[in-house]
Amino acid sequence: MAETTLGHANHTAPRPHGLHGVAADWSSDQRAFKNVSWGKAMMWVFLLSDTFIFGCFLLSYMTARMSTTVPWPNPSEVFALHLFGQDIPLILIAIMTFMLISSSGTMAMAVNFGYRHDRRKTAVLMLVTAALGATFVGMQAFEWTKLITEGVRPWANPWGAVQFGSSFFMITGFHGTHVTFGVIFLLITARKVWRGDYETGVRGFFTSRRGQYESVEIMGLYWHFVDLVWVFIFAFFYLW
């Protein structure tokens, strides 16, 4: 019985698919998410709420940019770097994008090796993910420093609409915070994998429940979400 409420995939009887399956799952008077553990379902619900937070940030940025009568600063020039004797547009942002995508790739592979009980590969891949994430935050700190020394403030900047600064610091700041917390949790989870906590069933630090390798996948969900948010920020703030 405890298995049914706490555990994950242990449903043997085939369940209906398609829309009929949606209706059957939601009306089954037990739990709607049949083969997903509570931990994974709650991470998804948290990510949904985070989607609304970032959605509202991007929305307020859109409103500010559409309603201002002053020209918006050109991100292509603002974020250009002077390298090899020429100005390359957006090059730092492009590198940051590739780093975050790579960290998503290593994270996805870490989840896979976790389910295969390959502790060494899982932990190493998670540490690589954390290192790429930390580098991303470092480059963001560099970018902030550069812009601040050039005179960008939340209330003013040298190139145009004042809302540019407040939108920039708000959106990238919140995203950077998410990445930072992701790195911290990656290190904690990688340590637990390395020690073999999920093999021996040591009680965990957050909920004091016994962990499984699903914890790695749930950690991965958060990390991929951070990457996902960056896809939208890159498109709307830096490229638009």
Binding site: F33, V36, W44, S67, T68, G105, A108, V111, E217
Partner: protein
């Protein structure tokens, strides 16, 4: 343990095999292919700016690359493609409401800009 050993040799398992015995089991190759595609799409996004495309072509390409990347990440990396529809709909449908909000704020910001032009640009 026997299962763990069996899974070590699972690299060449078909991609369609959905292992719910213990979590999500897919061949590593799948992740590498998606990773490669994400690189290609990001390079595409960046080249929009690098080559300085403008107008509807620019916005259309930005949105296309963005949605393709987001779709790949959610479907494969986050395993949404293998989840039951009850979860997928519960998570993926509510964000569509943001689009309604976008429509409202587009109208609102047009109005705000018009008011600013009419009332504050005369100096």
């Amino acid at each position: 343990m026997a299962q763990a050993e069996a899974q070590l040799h699972g690299d060449d398992a078909p991609a369609s095999k959905v292992g719910h015995a213990e979590g999500q089991q897919h061949p590593i190759r799948l992740y590498l292919v998606v990773w490669g595609w994400l690189f290609v799409l990001s390079a595409g996004s960046y080249s929009i700016d690098y080559f300085g495309l403008q107008g509807h072509l620019r916005w259309g390409l930005i949105l296309t690359f963005m949605m393709l990347k987001a779709g790949l990440i959610v479907a494969v990396f986050m395993h949404m493609a293998w989840e039951r529809l009850a979860l997928a709909y519960a998570i993926l449908v509510p964000p569509l409401l943001i689009l309604v909000f976008v429509a409202i704020m587009v109208l609102e910001s047009d109005y705000t800009e018009l008011t600013r032009v009419l009332s504050f640009s005369g100096s």
